[in-house]
Amino acid sequence: MAAAASCSTSTRSTGSVVVAASRNSVTSFQRRGPRASGTDSGCSRLVSIAGTRPSVRNGQLLVSTGLPALDQLLGGGLAVGTVLLIEEDKYNIYSPLLFKYFLAEGIVTGHTLLVASAKEDPADILQELPAPLLDDNCKKECDEDICNHKTESNIKMKIAWRYQLLPKMEARPVSSSRFGHYYDVSKRIPQELIEASKWHGFFLPEKISSTLNLEPCSLNHGYIKLLQFIQNIIYEEGFDGSNPQKKQKNILRIGIQNLGSPLWGDDICWTENCDSNHSLTKFLYMLRGLLRSSLSACIITVPTHLIQNKAIIARVTNLSDTVVGLESFIGSEKETNPLYKDYHGLIHIRQIPQLNNLIYDVSDVKDLAFKLKRKLFTIEKPRCCYNLQNRTRLCGLIRV
């Protein structure tokens, strides 16, 4: 074929050469792989983990927080190895939602979960996760596949005949490799998704009943147990690569609820000068140490509005990587402000980590409000309703 092409006249040879090249499917245009500027040689290996993608800014591996709008504000997603701190809103209504989005995203992408709480049993928390919104086409195809599995005829494609040669993609809505999904908060996650997922729960009242012999340390008892639990899971399941028997290529998503609240045995929410002033900050430091050396990402919700000592809030912020604060309008004077009448609260992106980079990374958009609709949690810039009134007044003036 190629020999015949070379023998032909010059006007025809270029055409056949092109055809020959595309038939061999080796073209000169090769798409370059993701630049491994920010990670070491294991980048190509890491990119293949479902539900992650490398950051366009510094090559850092990112996971989705479960809210694509929040991912965008944080510069693409949450970096693996970092902590996302959510400063709870006053009555703790909206921060559990962000917590649940994070965990639901983990289930949908097949990541391992570690849920820690002092208030609710982790199994109950998982039952209340929002249901993922799947493509309608995807669902229909799935049903049809089940019914018409054998009777699928080989329809010959006439125009897009090249696509016939490609292998058929399986429609698997359960384990999705897409980055960032949408969820329906009015529905619960299907039971089979929870059962198919791998998760570990840490419920403080159960774990703390056993006595243990520890050297006296300024860390709170509950925090020590939680740190040991997390370290155990990371080591046993091979998330830090130090276990020779287990080679793990998955992400561990850790969720800790209401950290620093009195239920964890911490008294920073009661008094200003407390004995265990350093318990929470020490815990956060050790957690950071564990996360930085493993394939995990963590979300923590802290009731900062209850912490009496402002210095501790500053220290907690410095020890976390990404900090997002929620301020709900319930009970505040902003509830009657006409600018905010369509929204439920404000969301402040207080800190974004500066990893592997000199550039000062701050979110461009500063005033953001959130709204919990029946099915969706949205974040947007509050629109000023005064603009419309001003414009009509001006038009009136010009006419006169």
Partner: protein
């Protein structure tokens, strides 16, 4: 190393001063770019550096260092850089304790903490070697950052003692330099931090203070840098020299300009 900052400070890697304590502090912004500057500066100046990095991992500093033209892995292998990775060592000392003293021993203690093992680590790392091989220029201790020690339960006085000991050994005895970063908590009323900051401020020869703009966030001007030269050992009537510049951080460099003279405005 940022060439513009070298010009402002009137130094080059060849003529680095010795026996000085430099205090870096940041208020309402992130001053870690100063740490990267001094790390690459002293490595290029052929000094032996002991870096106590408590807040970020080794690969973070390495990747930024490569952008600034130094390789931390090479420096560590040939002995020019002694790197204490705080996060990794803390996990080791907390979960897998051993009998021998560890520089971060205070993490296992219940009371206000003793930084003596850390001081001994620094001493061991920067001790001048008597052999005749090519000696490094002068020892340098770099700490990022001291405010984390307060969060870990160490008292402000213990941290001040640690810096005092390091200064006596590194600056005075071995004619080296000490550079430390402290966060200024501003209106967060962190008394311990204020004690630490004021105490170090009185002992330092050079204070570099990175502040966020008073008017808030701006895309073209990331902050303001206040440089203060001091002479702590000579209580003279002369006022200390001070300069203020605004800066913008870019991918591999930081550009400085006089207040209000940002290229975006002109």
């Amino acid at each position: 190393m940022f060439p513009e900052l070298n010009n402002l400070l009137n130094t080059t890697p060849d003529q680095a001063e010795q026996g000085k304590l430099t205090l870096l502090c940041d208020a309402k912004t992130d001053g870690s770019f100063l740490v990267h500057h001094f790390l690459s500066f002293y490595l290029k100046a052929n000094c032996k550096v002991c870096f106590v990095a408590l807040i970020q991992s080794f690969s973070h500093y390495n990747i930024v260092g490569q952008k600034l033209g130094v390789s931390l892995t090479t420096a560590r292998e040939c002995g020019q850089l002694v790197f204490l990775e705080g996060l990794k060592s803390a996990v080791d000392v907390f979960f897998r304790p051993q009998e021998e003293p560890h520089p971060l021993q205070f993490l296992r203690e219940a009371n206000s903490g003793n930084l003596q093992p850390l001081y001994e680590f620094v001493q061991e790392a920067l001790k001048p070697v008597d052999s005749g091989e090519a000696a490094w220029r002068c020892p340098v201790l770099l700490v990022d950052d001291l405010s984390v020690l307060l969060s870990l339960g160490v008292g402000a006085v213990a941290v001040l003692d640690f810096i005092h000991y390091c200064r006596a050994t590194v600056c005075w005895e071995w004619k080296g330099n000490v550079v430390a970063l402290v966060h200024d908590s501003g209106d967060a009323e962190d008394e311990e931090n204020d004690i630490l900051l004021n105490g170090l401020g009185h002992q330092s020869h050079l204070i570099l203070r990175a502040e966020g703009l008073a008017t808030g966030f701006c895309k073209d001007v990331h902050g303001q840098l206040r440089i203060l030269w001091r002479r702590p050992s000579e209580p003279t009537a002369q006022r200390d020299r001070s300069l203020t510049y605004q800066y913008k951080i870019q991918d591999k460099n930081v550009s400085f300009f006089a207040k209000g003279m940002s290229p975006a405005v002109l």
